[in-house]
């Protein structure tokens, strides 16, 4: 009658969802930010993003061959790592450096730990830390977005941008002329030290929202990141807990400083919109592999990330703290998971 029947454990049906789908969703959510990066930094952005993605894919492919494992490029996680890493690099980064960083992300931070699902640290952040430590100035040189001249701001916002323009330097040491500028966060840092007017910094909220200020590739446009974040929330690819915890904790942290000394510290809106805060809240801290499993754990993790970012930004010496905040909380994730062990719905059983 029938030659073969399949036997397997229940359930015999499954939701139409795959790891590839989950990763694909995040990539789709990053499309607005990719578009923004390309719009603001033109071909610089295209080359950096392409280099990172291709280098990540190649590294994963080679690793799988060496480890004699099936090809895992299909789960799209390597592409995602490449994108996130590219987004956290300055547009001027030499392509060889981007390629080495990407290889570090996949080989050292991911594959050596056992591949997808086993890595302790977010591969992109680990790679960025490696690059920040070994490449020095290359990681802190910021070009002016190609569209800088096109950003039409009125009144005081224009003053703020103009002030930043005044800081721009022409760097002609290699015979090339690159227009560089300080990022809004560096600006905020100097305001904190009394070297700049904090009012001007506060007026940069609007340009940072639409994009067009200096910074890493993926950080320039808050709008693009928000669109992606909302898409992920609607698709239920991420839960709201981590982004909410990160943003609330950061806002509360900077809010206290702002209330105490508004003429020294930039306002909370500026801090939430500038730098890597949003990409961290929606795309980096929410990386499921390196974040806690339980809801309670997610809150702790998110609050930790948000508070550490602001701690580094306001008290530390660095202008931006997303990378270290995420890495520190990644390291704490196993402990958080253990501390937030779920209790069954019916309470602790009487007999073991």
């Amino acid at each position: 009658m029938l030659s073969k029947i399949t036997v397997s454990p229940a359930p015999h049906i499954s939701q139409d969802l795959s790891t590839r789908g989950v990763m694909g969703d995040v990539i789709i959510a990053l499309v607005p930010a990719i578009a923004a990066a390309v719009w603001f930094f033109r071909f610089q952005a295209v080359w950096v993003i392409a280099t990172c993605v291709l280098s990540c894919m190649a590294s994963e492919w080679i690793c799988n061959i060496i480890r004699k494992k099936p090809n895992s490029l299909g789960d799209l996680s390597a592409i995602l790592t490449g994108l996130i890493l590219a987004f956290s690099l300055p547009p001027t980064i030499p392509l060889w450096a981007a390629a080495i960083g990407s290889a570090f992300a996949i080989v050292i931070a991911k594959m050596l730990f056992g591949g997808l699902g086993c890595n302790v640290f977010n591969p992109a952040m680990a790679a960025r830390a490696f690059m920040a430590a070994s490449l020095g100035a290359l990681m802190t040189t910021w070009t002016v977005p190609a569209t800088m001249g096109e950003v039409h701001c009125k009144g005081q916002e224009a003053n703020a941008l103009a002030a930043i323009h005044a800081e721009n330097t022409y760097d002609g040491s290699n015979g090339e002329i690159a227009l560089t500028q300080a990022t809004p966060l560096a600006w905020a840092k100097s305001a904190q030290k009394g070297k700049a007017d904090v009012q001007l910094v506060n007026q940069m909220v609007k340009p940072t929202f639409y994009g067009g200020v200096g910074g890493c590739l993926g950080e320039t446009s808050v709008l693009a990141l928000l669109i992606g974040g909302v898409y992920l929330l609607i698709r239920k690819t991420i839960s709201f807990h981590i982004p909410a915890a990160v943003l609330i904790a950061a806002a509360a942290f900077v809010g206290i400083f702002y209330l105490i000394s508004p003429d020294k510290y930039a306002n909370p809106a500026f801090h939430l919109f500038s730098g890597g805060m949003l990409i961290c809240a929606f795309f980096i801290a929410t990386d499921p592999v390196t974040a806690p499993l339980s809801v309670k754990g997610m809150w702790i993790f998110g609050v930790g990330v948000g508070a550490l970012v602001m701690l580094i930004r306001l008290i530390g010496e660095l202008p931006e703290g997303v990378m270290y905040a995420v890495l520190i909380m990644n390291a704490l994730t196993p402990l958080i998971d253990r501390a937030c062990k779920l209790m069954p719905a019916g309470g602790k059983p009487n007999v073991s």
Binding site: M1, L2, K4, I5, T6, V7, S8, P9, A10, P11, H12, I13, S14, Q15, L17, S18, T19, G21, V22, S72, D75, S77, G115, L116, G117, C118, S239, P288, V289, A291, L293, S294, K341, L342, M343, P344, A345, G346, G347, K348, P349, N350, V351, S352
Partner: protein
Amino acid sequence: MAEIRGKCTFPGGAHPPENKQFGENCPVEVATVPKQVSILLSQHIGAPCEPLVAKREAVTVGQVIGQSDAFVSAPIHSPINGTVKDIALLPHPVIGRTMGIIIDADAENNTPKQPVNARFDKDFNPTDFTPEKICMSVRQAGLVGMGGAGFPTQVKIEPNPRLEKKVLIINGCECEPFITCDYRVMLEWVWQVIAGIRLAAHAAGVNKIRIGIEDNKPEAIKIVSDTIEQLGNIGDIQVVPLKTKYPQGGERQLIKSILGKTVPTGSIPPTIGVCVLNVATCAAIAEAVIVGNPLTHRIVTVSGCAISKPGNYYVPIGMRVEDLIEYCGGLTETAAKVIMGGPMMGFAIADLSTPLTKTSGALTFLTKAAVTRAKYEKQVTACIRCGRCLTACPEHLNPTKIAHAVKYNKLDLAKDYYLSACMECGCCSFVCPANIEITGYIKTGKILDARAKKRLG
């Protein structure tokens, strides 16, 4: 039909496609008598029966052919007239192989047994029977929970002085996809079901009765409510529409949804004064007590894309899967999986000579395409700790942690994360994007744990 929205629900769960269209509108059909039946000696939770008949002995319909003296057990009966052919090891859908009695049907002297629902109507008074008489009849009829677990019904409804029962919950959820047998019972046998409910409540000494039905069955909700209304003043009995969500019909979830109470982990509902019965079991109680028939037949939903004639069939318990397939017009070319039960918790069987038991409410036939799509097209990838299984788990466990602990042979770790609290509903595997057989690992862990305990003595 006005839309009914059930508000009552429980945390967690999943929404598998319902697929009730195959049998929803098929009235119960009486199947022909098969040439041979195999009655398993263990069809329930508790002690297996000892055979009471010998080879070549003649048996008649309703004759007791197996029994046990243990408190938690249920006797078995012959569904047909015939002769005992053999007592041998037979395939069992759940526990592999077990002893069973094979009976050859008497070629002349067998007409299919008809349902007795027509004998029930409004004029019925449960107090005509004493609670002792009801419990005795239920025990003798070999009644067990027909929803799937197969716990002897008499043990459930018998009053227990240490654990007083306060609420009787009737389970009409049928949350498993594909299955429609309880739905048809509620539509067609409603008087019988209500009579059984009242008998059970009378036997258990319970005044408060709640009937939980998922809101994807508005007709069943309506017909049961209307019937209760027609009876007038028969005490505190209510239909509760529930939100359609899997596993709404799980005992613990049902209690949570209707009463808002949680059964302690590792305990059974009587510890909080609740008794849960399935609607088909209630119908069988009425038949056993009033008509005096033992449990020899039941309704089985035959469903899925891979069977020619899906529907709800009234069949003798012990009928073989292959005979029922033949009666239903055979499998289609694309059939690839035969599941005893529904697709979420059912057991895929390898041997089509497996007989139906008292707890087999359905046979689901999946096509090759459906099986491939669910199991093989998406390859198993590594757990990315997305946490979907934690959100879906109705028991608020950490399924991925337990499953991986079992996978790497760390049984202590699995137990530390409450391995035994899992009820194997399958929500975690269903939602897993990495396609990991989480439920399968947890089941394996439970078996390993039981073995380890046995070894320790």
